[in-house]
Symmetry: C2
Subunit: 701 residues, 2 copies
């Protein structure tokens, strides 16, 4: 590629430079960035992250400069190399699981080892017996076998009970036969299966003596340990390109009557007794639900940070980018206005900035609730065992009077759905707030958004989850009506609504924070009892209520976020660790998040009589606009507090130093392999390229 001629190198952006503009921005606020960052992440973690970043930066295999230019095969080739090196570094530096995760987050793209390092190891550990740990887990931890977790099928996503793959017990030789009876039984979407894995935990319907005992996990070797070719009667491969996540080898797998020994069925919870040929029931199914709750709580916490990347990039760029003069500016004033000064940009970005903190504190809150509950659960273990047979009870079927798990589970479902939707859709808003340049790969938002999108589907499809949440809320409401409800936050707000229902609500949502939280609780309760009436009194079909359930679950999640953010700000821990100014700015973010949400969902707040039309109009035209103005000067420091290194963001627009246009130009003109090609532009010539110097380029890199 020809490098830029000297006259081009001498050119600078016009007007005030990006670096000056960002320096001015940072000078507008005295918010203590490091203090806020330490409060959110701890100083130890931030130092650890820097240490790991240095290790990665020193290694050429992690060079990102060609990432955006590569096609799928080149990308997965690079990801494989990085995955290998990461594992070597992990051994060399004796990284903990958290440190390994930090390195992955900094690299910011999945590797083909992703599902080995997470679901394969976790499943072996949690669902394997000590004997199986020795046989599989130890070798997997040493990367002597590489595995994946094969549940979803071509024809079956969310509905696990509908899986078609079978595992039939053979009493004569004490083996299982794994089989894919139809094309739709093909395992599909399985991360790390397509190219990397030589083993898979396969979820299959267990059949003993013709009877189906439901889906269970089986360890199946699928590729030869030496040649890495598929074993006989196994058809396995990569499922092809996707909207994102293309450094991962999501795979397919078909099994034609493949035999595996008895020991390959993961047997910690349930098993087949090889002597009696009988099924032995799970001892404590709720522990599995606990894990799901933990995974979902982490998705909530992550969602804040996922979104914060987009908000960081867009906020920085909108402070550098100037466009049009202010229409009301005096004629004497020249120069264009920073895009971040336009209220139409603020109303898109600043509520998302507020959401990043709201989700962060909500995720933290969920994780500590989970940990608290785990302690309690471990004391109670065994109590919940299902002795009646048929199938393992879902947590929604446990009596909410006896434990908090059901409440926590429902909340984690609701919040997983809301937070991942907020992050995914928010990233797209950030991308568009960058105007035309948001569409360039160099914005760093598009690929990040595309890679994140599956989160709205996996670990429970966001729409499906809302049914579980509503089922739980209806159950709680029935218990409240019967007077035998447990004492937890959900039943408290439902009872409070019943108590004041006839008196009516008069929440001062603009003047009082606690009233604002209470208005969100009121809306949830109103929608719960309305849905209950439709279901129990009007006998409406479940299907006809799905839309109401989705609204109800969203309302519940929004209430939880508002409540958690409010609680976090009023925690003595917060007020002790942060300057009053910082707490003040966070408080404005809390109010912006809550009032902006209230206004967007105005119709439900009206219908429930939680607020008046006048209040909504006030919130919209005055309070929210005022909050935008007040938060505006702190925007840049607030995104700085998320502490994303430039290398992690990999964005021309989001550079900490504001050198946006220089970086765009550099990447386009000096890194872009397409500029090593010269077209023949005439339709009648047979030649496509007059010159193609990509080969030189490749050898240089």
């Amino acid at each position: 590629m020809p490098s830029n001629p000297d006259w081009v190198k001498a050119l600078k952006p016009s007007g005030p430079q990006g670096s000056e503009l960002l320096a001015q921005e940072r000078a507008k606020s005295t918010l203590n960035v490091d203090q806020l960052a330490n409060f959110m992440f701890t100083r130890e973690n931030l130092e650890r992250n820097e240490r790991i970043l240095k290790i990665l930066l020193a290694d050429p295999v992690f060079d990102k400069s060609q990432n955006y230019f590569r096609g799928r095969t080149e990308r997965i080739e690079a990801a494989l190399a990085r995955g290998k090196r990461l594992q070597q570094l992990s051994v060399q530096h004796k990284w903990t699981k958290e440190e390994f995760q930090v390195a992955n987050d900094l690299i910011s793209e999945p590797t083909p080892y992703g599902l080995h390092a997470s679901m394969f190891l976790v499943t072996l550990k949690e669902q394997g017996t000590p004997e199986q740990h020795k046989l599989f887990l130890e070798r997997a931890e040493a990367y002597k076998i590489i595995g994946c977790y094969a549940q979803t099928e071509l024809g079956h996503g969310s509905n696990v009970r509908g899986l078609e793959t079978t595992a039939t017990w053979n009493p004569e030789d004490k083996t299982f036969t794994l089989n894919s009876p139809h094309l739709t039984a093909s395992k599909w979407w399985i991360g790390s299966l397509g190219k990397a894995a030589n083993h898979a935990v396969v979820m299959a319907q267990l059949y003993i003596d013709g009877k189906n005992y439901g889906p269970h996990p089986f360890v199946v070797q699928i590729r030869d340990l030496k040649t890495h070719e598929p074993l006989p009667n196994i058809h396995v491969g990569d499922i092809g390109p996707k909207f994102g996540y293309n450094t991962m080898d999501n795979g397919f797998l078909l099994l034609k009557s493949v035999k595996i020994p008895h020991v390959n069925m993961l047997a910690r919870f349930s098993r087949v007794d090889p002597n009696t040929n009988k099924y032995v029931r799970p001892s404590n199914p709720s522990l599995v639900y606990g894990t799901l709750t933990y995974i979902r709580s982490n998705i909530v916490l992550q969602a804040g940070s996922v979104l914060a990347r987009g908000v960081t990039i867009a906020t920085r760029y909108c402070a550098v980018r100037r466009q049009f003069q202010d229409r009301d500016a005096p004629e004497t004033e020249v120069g264009e206005n920073q895009v971040l000064n336009y209220t139409m940009v603020q109303i898109r970005l600043l509520p998302l900035l507020a959401a990043t903190f709201a989700l962060h504190f909500t995720g933290k809150g969920m994780i500590s609730l989970y940990q608290e509950n785990q302690k309690r659960m471990n004391g109670d273990a065994g109590k919940l065992a299902d002795s009646t047979g048929k199938r393992a009870p879902g947590p929604e079927e446990l009596n909410p009077g006896t434990d908090l798990l059901a409440d926590l589970h429902a909340t984690s479902c609701a919040l997983k759905a809301l937070s991942s939707t907020t992050a995914a859709e928010g990233l797209e808003v950030c991308r568009r707030a960058c105007g035309g340049h948001g569409y360039s790969s160099f914005s760093g938002i598009g690929s990040w958004y595309a890679d994140y999108l599956p989160t709205v589907t996996w670990e429970g499809d966001n729409y499906m989850l809302t049914q579980q949440v509503s089922r739980y809320l209806l159950k709680s409401a029935r218990a409240v009506l019967k007077g035998n409800a447990a004492d937890n936050d959900t039943t408290r707000i439902l009872k409070e609504f019943r108590r004041r229902q006839d008196i009516g609500a008069a929440f001062d949502v603009i003047g009082s924070d606690s009233d604002l939280v209470a208005a969100f609780a009121w809306r949830v309760s109103f929608l719960t009892f309305e849905a209950l009436r439709h279901r129990d009194e009007d006998k409406q079909s479940w299907n006809s209520l799905l839309v109401d359930f989705w609204r109800l679950s969203t309302a519940h999640a929004q209430y939880m976020v508002v409540k958690n953010f409010h609680d976090a700000l009023n925690d003595s821990n917060t007020t002790n660790q942060l300057d009053p100014e910082t707490v003040g700015v966070l408080h404005k973010l809390f109010r912006l998040y809550a009032l902006h949400t209230l206004e967007r969902e105005a119709s439900e707040f009206y219908s429930s009589a939680a607020v008046t039309v006048r209040q909504i109009t006030l919130a919209r035209t005055k309070t929210v606009m005022k909050l935008l103005e007040e938060i505006r000067p702190h925007a840049l420091r607030l995104v700085d507090a998320w502490k994303f290194p430039d290398w992690q963001l990999d964005s021309s627009l989001g550079r900490y130093d504001g050198k946006v246009y220089e970086d765009m130009f550099y990447r386009a003109s000096e890194l872009n392999p397409l500029n090593s090609i010269v077209f023949d532009p005439y339709p009648d010539s047979k030649v496509l390229f007059k010159k193609d110097e990509r080969a030189n380029l490749r050898s240089k890199l």
Copy 2:
């Protein structure tokens, strides 16, 4: 790539086959698909499309089977080959502009000739003199020169008046010097510039004797006609990969004091007199605004069809995909439920299905209004000439009393913003409604969505446009208050609001179609006078009102769509050409679109007192749900009426024959080049691939 073993070839999807399910679907309704299609597109056009499709199918250069697998360079290489062949075919078959466009639509990805064939030719034609037509246009039409339209700069998107590139008149040798004074002056995003063009129409600030006369168009040769290398003092190239549109070579361009002759300034509207060295003013600037209005009206019409592709794919797949049993189904009923039966899927897809028709009829309506107005304008030409100097007046500055252009222009801005946002965001909803498989490239939605996204930014950024709309509405409202308003639809609804404001509105939005339309008009008028009060009485700054303006413009556009859809259904042309059953189903779609929109924007309808809380609740819980149920049986035939050939959709999920899973599997296992590679999966081995047979594959293709 190993082809599938025989035992895999023998596998079929389980349960009822996709082809059976779609046949059942089509049998559920007797809607006359061909009649509806002929009504929408005319039979002649549909036959023409089929004829062109056959030509493309016969030519291996248009084979799409590797499209989703290719990296950027391979894609642009294929697109260049296709662009060349398309031009050859166009000459061979003597294609009209429309026929050429049909071929492009069927191929469904831009080629590097895209901006040559559109903006370059159009600009030369519309802004060139007869002498310039001879010099540039004729050669361009013969593809002897390839060009582009270079307006946007690295630092300047929407603000054309802020462009930095200069064109300085040299009286001594009667030339212009084109120069890029800063890095931000680099032309950027220019389609066909990066690799294909050897000429560019460059928009630059015209300077004569030190005075700036604003942006004007100049033809600049940028590459050698033989070697295709950049000419001296010109730095040009491709700007790199984007979120989509990667078969287009969007480019950058820097000019270092490049001299061009006098004849290279396009001089139909304004020019420099080479004898007096004086600027000669534009004779009829409003013609240019007319073109923009036409382009935007076409975006509205296209938006319906763009969205319809996604809706077609998602509707077909949701009829094939089955997941979970109906919760209320009797225990004896086995088998999973079609996803399209779930109300949560219907509420996402069917209002979008309604929107496709709403946008189609609205686009048609806009285009005939435009044509009507052009006729009238041609009679009036010359009247609008600006004799006062300074700068060309925008249409918003023309007196609405003397012509309809301002009204049409404002409406086209509002509708362009709403329709492109509806299509872009609707496509993403369609993608997610396909569940996990929507994320696969083989869904055909992701890439289509990504390619369409720039439409929300180009031809007027959607957010920026809403200011122009509001400015026009405020101006009309002021005229109404002063009593000197012109008579057009906008002033009529504003006057009607004023008349009934104190009496109050009582629209029967559920029982009466015309009341439903009137409620949308009422909301627009309410928001207009509210914004006017804020601006003129409260003296609020323009910037503080941008959010209100955006809402106002959206409300105006939604009113126009509802009104156009309503008018189309009540047109005698419609009722003559279509069966009453078809009209009946379209009528339900009209009501679904209107009531679903009303419910989503409930808060503004309340605040304006156009409807009561009770009406909204009824609309939400009863009417909309009922409409979903009634439209459901016709869904498949309605999407069939859009008549997209499978080849155009290029989607496993959207196949007309329902063979969804077979096609997914075929593409993944037999077309996927990644499956020609065998990984070495162990972190400590130095080798990445044990085997790489892609080369064999390439030579085969």
